[in-house]
């Protein structure tokens, strides 16, 4: 390793970098804002996705039986469940349990003194192996003799997932626009540096530096701006993660706040670096005319 060579190169990058300090800070700031939004977005998306699939896997099909179906007839229905391979299991919930369950869920807000009769029919709670099969299973059970109706919460969940998906698309477009903005600002910064260094560049060309060599410090500069911006953003996201997520988790208890954080951090850094690299590559190529 030739340390003198490295030192010279880093010196050139450093003097590039500090020459347009204000512009560099703007570039870094833009990348940081973009990456903060990107990171928050990815985090929320991960959380929603795991929330949604978690819900889906817990979906049960509620099978309400006709009033005239007694426990014995219910048992024959249970046998049919066992023959359906899509069904993982079923729990029988007789009238009295239904009422008790409701009480335990709603607690003392549920005033039973107003009830003259038990409004709950006999029912099954059927669990399906694959969340995707829920609608079909519900439909086929509905046709069993003795079954009044079937019900499942999948509608709400699939709707939720669809909304999350839509939000995801809109978010991605916005982040895409921000990435483009950041790229333009970096490209412009590099262009200013190229302009500020036109004498050096002219001399480099005169003494026989290769185009690649002339480009390198500028590309390193763009890469550095992208990485610094992304690094700054990760710092902000980390603090937000420490401060905000516990509070949110306490407020919305049923949502499991969860994301693959190292992977997210890696993605954020990669986006910053890529934006810096690509923007400076094109900018130098365009303005250097070497």
């Amino acid at each position: 390793m030739d340390w003198g060579k490295l030192k010279f190169f880093l010196g050139e990058v450093g003097s590039n970098f500090t020459r347009n300090a204000a512009m560099q800070l703007t570039a870094i700031g833009t990348v940081a804002v973009t990456v903060v939004l990107l990171g928050a977005f990815l985090y929320v998306r991960d959380t929603l996705a795991s929330f949604g699939t978690g819900m889906l896997s817990k979906i049960e099909v509620a099978v309400y039986l006709n009033d005239d179906v007694d426990d014995a007839r219910a048992r024959t229905i249970a046998v049919r469940f066992a023959q359906d391979r899509r069904i993982w299991g079923a729990t029988y919930v007789p009238k009295r349990d239904g009422l008790r369950r409701m009480k335990s869920v709603l607690g003392k807000d549920f005033d039973t003194s107003l009830l003259t009769a038990n409004p709950f029919p006999n029912a099954f709670h059927v669990r399906v192996r694959r969340p995707g099969d829920v609608p079909a299973v519900a439909a086929s059970i509905a046709k069993y003799p003795g079954v009044a109706k079937t019900d499942y919460a999948a509608d709400t969940v699939t709707k939720l997932l669809r909304i999350a998906d839509l939000l995801g698309r809109v978010g991605l477009i916005m982040i895409g626009l921000l990435v483009v903005t950041a790229a333009i600002i970096i490209a412009n910064t590099i262009r200013l540096t190229v302009f500020a260094r036109r004498r050096e560049i002219a001399i480099m060309q005169l003494v026989g530096a290769t185009n690649m060599y002339i480009r390198m410090p500028f590309i390193a500069e763009g890469l550095l701006a992208g990485l610094l911006g992304a690094g700054l953003a990760l710092g902000i996201l980390y603090i937000a993660r420490l401060e905000l997520v516990p509070k949110l988790a306490a407020t919305i208890a049923f949502v499991p706040f969860h994301a693959n954080e190292p992977l997210l951090a890696g993605e954020c850094l990669a986006v910053g670096a890529t934006v810096g690299f690509v923007a400076s590559w094109f900018s130098v190529g365009r303005y250097l005319r070497v």
Binding site: W3, R199, I203, M204, L206, V207
Partner: protein, 236 residues
């Protein structure tokens, strides 16, 4: 070493800066390029280091067809050609040493070579004692010597000088010309475009006179004005 055959160069604005120029320069020779302002001296030099391509004709430098040279091969050509200008083109924020080293560093030379060649080049031009100074702390003559040191640090076979003494007083001019002569004696082919009649007449080297983009005269041991000789010298 250098050969131009039927070289014509027309600028995009229609100005014909060179018109069917033929010129042969032998290895190790010293040639003055003279002529009125705007007769194509600078343009001719630019063709040699591939700053430009001729509109037609052949340009050969050190057996390389420069007019046909691919872009990617230009850096290699330029490492073989030192170029010096009237305005020195030194980097003001770098010391003399750094300016000279720059030419090596940006061509990827390793530190060992930089440490060996820079002092040698500075020594050749007599600037070793001022290597830590900035260009602004030097006289015009010293700045030009620094520029020459930079042009030579790669050990080029050819040194091209475009008005190297245009900004200098007579005594600095003399110093620079003596330096160029010494460099030529070491084997480097030297081409000097100049308006300085006194210098040309004193040195009595080959003189190529351009007129409206054509070679008007080409004399071994010539004078700035053909046939008039030193009677025309205005000052020494």
């Amino acid at each position: 070493m250098i050969s131009l055959r039927g070289v014509t160069l027309t600028y995009p604005n229609g100005v014909r800066a060179l018109d069917d120029v033929d010129l042969e320069v032998a290895k190790g020779s010293f040639v003055f390029l003279v002529g009125h302002s705007g007769t194509g001296k600078s343009t001719l030099l630019k063709l040699l280091y591939r700053e430009m391509r001729p509109t037609s004709g052949e340009v050969t430098v050190d057996n390389i067809r420069v007019d046909r040279l691919r872009r990617s091969k230009v850096p290699a050509l330029r490492r073989n050609i030192g170029v010096v200008f009237q305005d020195f083109k030194l980097l003001s924020h770098k010391t003399v040493w750094e300016n000279v080293a720059f030419a090596l560093q940006v061509t990827g030379a390793n530190t060992k070579d930089v440490k060996r060649q820079v002092p040698r080049s500075l020594d050749l031009v007599g600037l070793s004692h001022k290597s830590r100074m900035l260009p602004s702390e030097l006289s015009g003559g010293e700045q030009q010597r620094a520029a020459i040191a930079r042009a030579l640090v790669n050990n080029p076979k050819i040194l091209l000088c475009d008005e190297p003494t245009g900004n200098l007083d007579p005594s600095n001019t003399t110093e620079i010309m003596e330096l160029l002569q010494r460099i030529n004696l070491k084997g480097t082919t030297v081409l000097v475009a100049t308006h300085n009649a006194a210098v040309v007449d004193r040195m009595r080297r080959r003189v190529v006179r351009l007129e409206d983009g054509r070679v008007l005269h080409d004399d071994e041991r010539g004078y700035y004005f053909r046939g008039l000789g030193q009677t025309q010298v205005l000052s020494g």
